[in-house]
Amino acid sequence: MTTTFARSLDEALTALAESAAAGAKPVVVSGGTLCVPAMVRGELDAADVVDLGRTGLNTLAVGSVIELGALVSYQQVISSPRVRAELPLLHRMASGITGGIQIRNQGTLVGALCAARPQSDALAVLVALQAEAVVVSASGTRTAPVADLLVSPGTTHLAADELVAGLRIPACLHGTGYVKLKFAESSWPVVTAAAVQDRVVLGGVAGTPQVVPLPSRREVRAAVVDHLDALPTEHRWADLRAPWAYRRRVAPEIAARAVELAEEAR
């Protein structure tokens, strides 16, 4: 195992390019809360590791678009009055991240995106907010909607020499709601729902977040049921917390509550 503790984004990209050119699939460490224990357990093939901890990608800039670096922690999001005012949906989600002060200090939105776990708090919210990822490699920069980066559980459309340097999220001041179902304080969510304008985005029901357009506020539950019933079997998500049938049963209610919150926030 070789580990590069990059001191700049360029240094990280050079290490990634060299590793990818050698045919490896380097592991990029942002907050470390997911990938470090996975490496310790041997679940991640970590021949080459690029740790971003010293790259300084921890800036959070708030304008009409909120820009967050790859190292911006949930706590930075929670502590920012501007994020609270201009992205209340993101603020609410971050405030409910499991794991206490420590995980909120260490966990990052970019890490959650790249881990692509269906049970994540962050993914449905990022998709609902139409967040874009800034994807960089030694050969250039591209932006990609978060929804397009997510392929399947644990898999993204990132090449071996690419990393996500940050996120760009348009301000979304009013009319949003987030609700999640989980069984214990320290548990991952079972189902999440992020409501924005005329849609609700569900997490924990499929391999990737599901966008459900809402033809009418009164038809939330029916729209969710129709969407879930149309999901191909291979895309339905289940893990040790709940089988898919349970998720299908509770998701309409979780979605309806998120939409109610969004209406109250208007």
């Binding site: 470390g32 470090v36 490496m39 310790v40 357990r41 740790d51 794991g99 420590q102 995980i103 304080e185």
Partner: protein, 150 residues
């Protein structure tokens, strides 16, 4: 690499896959961070790294080059405990003590930012720490007591 641990400047040469908790314990002999789950769940490996309350089982050791690490051992002494430690003693908020690095340092971090926390804020702050002796109620009471004593 060089770093500062509980006020002492140290030099170590970790393996690339070493986590900070392993270096603190195995190379530097600290028993004020402990190994529980290695998954970021239990909190007993908690230390302050450059002032941030973190779980050191989730940190690759090399990331801490040049950092200032403070463990529970730097907080107070047996004869002169930190007010939060004093409150935990007074409220019988621990039995075996395995959870104390996380419980105490989470409480210290909470009170630094929120001097008069609600019970919900206390529970939220402590939620990253597992207590094997089920002392959660007394731990909440202890943080409340420490806040009142400030």
């Amino acid at each position: 690499m060089r770093l500062q641990v509980d006020g002492a400047h140290v030099q170590i040469d970790p393996d690339p896959e070493d986590t900070l908790v392993d270096v603190l314990r195995d190379e530097l002999g600290s028993t004020a961070v402990r190994v529980g789950c290695r998954n970021g769940d239990c909190g007993t490996c908690t230390a302050l790294v450059d002032g941030q309350c973190v779980k050191t089982c989730l940190v690759l050791a090399g990331r801490a080059e040049g950092a200032r690490v403070e463990t529970l051992a730097s907080l107070g002494t047996e004869t002169n405990p930190h007010p939060v430690q004093e409150a935990f003693l007074a409220e019988y908020a621990f039995q075996c003590g395995f959870c104390l690095p996380g419980m105490i340092l989470s409480a210290v971090t909470l009170l630094a930012d929120t001097p008069s926390p609600s019970d919900a804020e206390i529970r939220n702050a402590l939620s990253g720490n597992l207590c094997r002796c089920t002392g959660y109620v007394n731990a909440v009471r202890a943080v409340r007591r420490a806040a009142a004593a400030r």
